[in-house]
Amino acid sequence: MCHALFCFTVTAPDLPILERKNWLIYLLYVRQDYEECKAVIKEQLQESQGLCEYAVYVQALIFRLEGKIQESLELFQTCSILNPRSADNLKQVARSLFLLGKHKAAIEVYNEASKLDEKDWEISHNLGVCYMYLKHFNKARDQLNNALELNKHDLTYMMLGKIHLLEGETDKAIEVYKKAVEFSPENTELLTTLGLLYLQLGDYQRAFEHLGNALTYEPGNYKATLAAGSMMQAHGDFDVALSKYKVVATAVPESPPLWNNIGMCFYGKKKYVAAISCLKRANYLAPFDWKILYNLGLVHLTMQQYASAFHFLSAAINFQPKMGELYMLLAVALTNLNDAENAKRSYEQAAALDKSNPLVNLNYAVLLYNQGDKKGALCQYQEMERKVNALKESSTPDFDPEKMVEVAQKMGVALQVGESLVWTKPSKESKSKQKAAGSGKSSSSQQPLGSNQALGQAMSSAAGYGKTMQLPTGAGAAAPAAKPPSLPLEPESGSEASPEETSAPPEAEEERKEKQQSQEAEE
């Protein structure tokens, strides 16, 4: 636009009376001395009886800066009447329409402008953005690519990447962002977005690289700090992560993801009460976020406050009815509340929703086994093995929580013993108890187990979450259908669980953390 401004001033060698003060207006506008500028414009317009195009133009720009878009649109329209040959005027009219949310009208005007000026990246870019708002993604992509050919620009890359994300093509989005980062390596926003995308895909090395770069260029970047902190958290560096969060907390004290992460840091450090209070604050700030509720449920399960855990988990299910793991945790809570019937139903629901997670079947098997239903347990056990094998075949590298394997082996032993009919009743009891004790210990001692796997899961679920967030109608419509059976609440909360009961939960507590930055990512 600066070019355009110069054009006006330079192309007037013998200044006609109308244009006499253009230089002054320009100077004041560039200095951001808007009050003065307005006064000069007023004078100029009075002299010229409103015919000075440049004065009207700058006045309109000032109005826009003040947020008075409607007035500025009218002035730009006057401009384009005064000088119908200028593409700039039309572009500004279109832009005003765009800012007012009238995308269709804006597109029409932009098309007209493009007739006057074929090779303008700005027109193509803005057309693309308008199409994006109208959800014509194909046209939008074409226009944006067009703009990129004409002139490379960060903003165009951003929009293109956003469109790819909206369509769910993460790979293509990453390609776009990569090119963008090559083009302008110091743009922190691009760096952060790319880092977060890598994080979602589980490529920690590159994610860390990009986020680190973003932080070097802009140490106070809230999103990048949060993401970097969460990665440290994933690797068990809770103290470092906390120190990162401390910086963010002073800047953004009301951010729910931040409090969620801090809470999970404390959880990792086994400060459960602090964890609960942080998570509760997060929940207070964002009552609709199921991830916070999930974490709250998990922490309460660890604290053996099963009734509270049940509440948080059922609330989470109400908000996110399509996630198997929630049902699994709910089942664990129900088992501890002595409601085996509903626990079974919950497990079944979990298995139906989550086809690939062997933990569901393993926990179900343990429950059935403890109930004395050996056949069912065996069935679930085999199902679990099948899933594990399937996972191994698909070569998910980071699927191997040791504890799960350990428990699964014990379970297998117990079941096979059952098959060969060598066991006697007391021995089986003692075994299951022993197993319970062992697994319980392992859950408390080797705490940061399989953090990579957990993170991967968290990320993938985060990606899924991002998708549902953008299509709220679909999620809302599906919500009531998959509602869990309404379960009566057991009043005895925090009561001591009997030794038989403790055998079920520990292995279920596969730790899942850091469900943040999905919100950031989709913004």
């Binding site: 947020g67 008075k68 009301e254 609709f288 059922s314 609330a315 989470a316 109400n318 709220p472 109608t473």
Partner: protein, 563 residues
């Protein structure tokens, strides 16, 4: 992202206003006088011989037992008796005694503690020219609660009132309203549009609280003020005090009361501090704060009294000099260590200046002196609730329950605390009882609103929707409920409904940032950046520290600046 308005708890205990015979020296002095007449009469009344009990003494006994109606009836009987039936000696005294006793009985019937009662009318608020500095520095004025210095919870956690103060645990007559900036805000009360404030205090609340001037006696008023020779009564200090209180409280005729007091203090050669305090009270009512200050100060010089300090502090608060008032309280505490009303006064000032944490400290001091102080317990409880400690808040509210407070607000708060402290078994029963105890529709609306929050907490959005709807049925001006309904509609994807609801909410409660911010977000999503910008600006005005608003504004400004 969209901010749900916070659950608000409303402990609206009205301050105890009527019936407490305050320890004011006025009451004491008059009592003494009354007693002496009683004795004087007794020795000669036995011959009159009715039931063996002298009627005047009987009346006196009624008065002591706070049966003021019977007392005044008996007194009027005595007064109506033809003089011939009276004893021939001490002729004057019994008449005077009965007259004085009746005056006092009538006064006591409508007595209102003058210290606590303070309702600013619209006129006082809008046309307030008493403040020393019109543009005060932050931290020295009650008008700009603005920046919180005490590290209290931010508006995102603790809801604020119309004037921008965090909501308190205890509603007091004058504090909650603050000073509104526009006439519309002044007419609307902080919570709702249901109860308007009086136009001016002189005509409104005082007259209504002491309803006596409205009650008509069949024989006309007991004392005809216009025919009273004030100068004559001012000569008799004992009678004059009772008469003054009658004129001040019962007749609510400040001008005549002031005349009487002025004459009386002249008669006492300006040596009676009691009269000075009374003159100060009259001046205060008339809005002559500087004169009132002079009188109270001079009274304090003669006699150190807690009451006088409280009156003087009230004057300073009215002049918008909270720091002076606080110093006064502190000086008072040096002379009366541990005086509850003084500590409580300091705590209130801190709270009004948005300095929540030190207010809590002082409230704790109050509790050390008087562990049944309802206001202190309620304020500390709500403070704990909003700083993420619902368990501790629950303990305080339980204490209130043990003390015998039994009302809708308390059960409402108990229910909320129970829910947030995960005592799920008690939550719903508490709310049920709160609903049962609700005295009016506004209270019912509050309870339903909080129930809506509970429903959101357990993830049952349909129930939440219904609860908020019920809130609106009970109180059509409940801005928070409109906002939350809009958020729920947004969740369902009904943009148009959400927009309409948000507009209603923001017009009803311009002091809340949530509806503005939500509207800004909504418009931004649709692409209507102009409206988004104006709403975001309003939101920033209501809550300058809100990071999301700031980010949104930054984004929008970039949009606008881009060519």
């Amino acid at each position: 992202r969209a901010g749900l308005a916070r659950p608000r708890r409303s402990l609206l205990f009205p301050r105890q206003q009527i019936g407490l015979p305050c320890s004011a020296p006025a009451a004491l002095g008059a009592q003494r006088a009354g007693r002496s007449w009683g004795f004087g009469r007794r020795c000669c009344s036995c011959p009159a011989g009715r039931m063996g009990l002298d009627p005047l003494f009987h009346a006196w006994s009624y008065f002591r037992r706070r049966k003021f109606r019977q007392c005044s009836e008996l007194c009027s009987e005595l007064l109506e008796r033809p003089p011939g039936n009276q004893m021939f000696y001490f002729l004057l005294y019994p008449v005077q005694a009965a007259w004085s006793l009746k005056t006092r009985a009538l006064t006591e019937m409508v007595y209102v503690d003058e210290i606590d009662m303070d309702q600013e009318g619209i006129a006082e608020m809008m046309l307030d020219e008493n403040a020393v500095a019109q543009v005060a520095r932050p931290g020295t004025s009650l008008k700009l609660p603005g920046t919180s210095q005490g590290g209290g919870p931010s508006p995102a956690v603790r809801p604020v009132t119309q004037s921008g103060r965090p909501i308190t645990g205890f509603v007091r007559p004058s504090t909650q309203s603050g000073r509104p900036s526009t006439m519309e805000q002044a007419i609307r009360t902080p919570r709702t549009g249901l109860t308007a404030r009086p136009i001016t205090s002189a005509s409104g609340r005082y007259g209504r609280l002491g309803t006596a001037s409205m009650l008509t006696n069949p024989d006309g008023p007991f004392i005809n003020l216009s025919r009273l020779n004030l100068a004559k009564y001012a000569q008799k200090p004992k009678l004059a005090k009772a008469l003054f209180e009658y004129i001040f409280y019962h007749e609510n005729d400040v001008k005549n009361a002031l005349d009487l007091a002025a004459l009386a203090t002249e008669h006492a050669q300006f040596k009676d501090w009691w009269w000075k305090v009374q003159i100060g009270k009259c001046y205060y009512r008339l809005g002559l704060f500087r004169e009132a200050e002079k009188q109270f100060k001079s009274a304090l010089k003669q006699q150190d009294m807690v009451d006088t300090i409280l009156y003087l502090a009230k004057v300073y608060l009215r002049l918008d000099q909270p720091v002076t008032a606080m110093n006064l309280f502190k000086q008072g505490l040096d002379r009366f260590p541990g005086e509850v009303t003084l500590i409580c006064g300091i705590a209130r000032i801190h709270e009004e200046m948005n300095n929540i944490s030190s207010a809590a400290e002082y409230y704790k001091d109050v509790l050390k002196q008087d562990n049944t102080h309802v206001e202190a317990i309620a304020c500390i409880g709500s403070n704990h609730f909003y700083s993420d400690q619902p368990e501790i808040a629950l303990r305080f509210y339980r204490r209130l329950l043990q003390m015998g407070v039994y009302n809708c607000q308390l059960f409402n708060n108990l229910g909320l605390c129970c829910f947030y402290a995960q005592q799920y078994d008690m939550t719903l029963s508490s709310f049920e009882r709160a609903l049962f105890l609700a005295e009016n529709e506004e209270e019912t609306a509050d309870v339903w609103y909080n129930l809506g929050h509970v429903a959101v907490g357990i993830g049952d959005l349909n129930l939440a929707y219904q609860c908020f709807k019920l809130t609106l049925v009970n109180n059509n001006n409940y801005a928070e409920a409109y906002n939350n309904l809009a958020v729920l509609e947004m969740q369902k994807g009904h943009i148009e409904q959400a927009r309409a609801l948000l507009q209603t909410a923001s017009s009803l409660a311009p002091h809340m940032y949530e509806p503005h911010f939500n509207f800004a977000i909504l418009s931004e999503k649709v692409g209507d950046l102009q409206r988004s910008y104006t709403s975001a600006q309003k939101s920033e005005e209501a809550f300058p520290g809100h990071v999301d608003t700031q980010q949104l504004l930054k984004q929008l400004k970039q949009h606008f600046a881009m060519l």
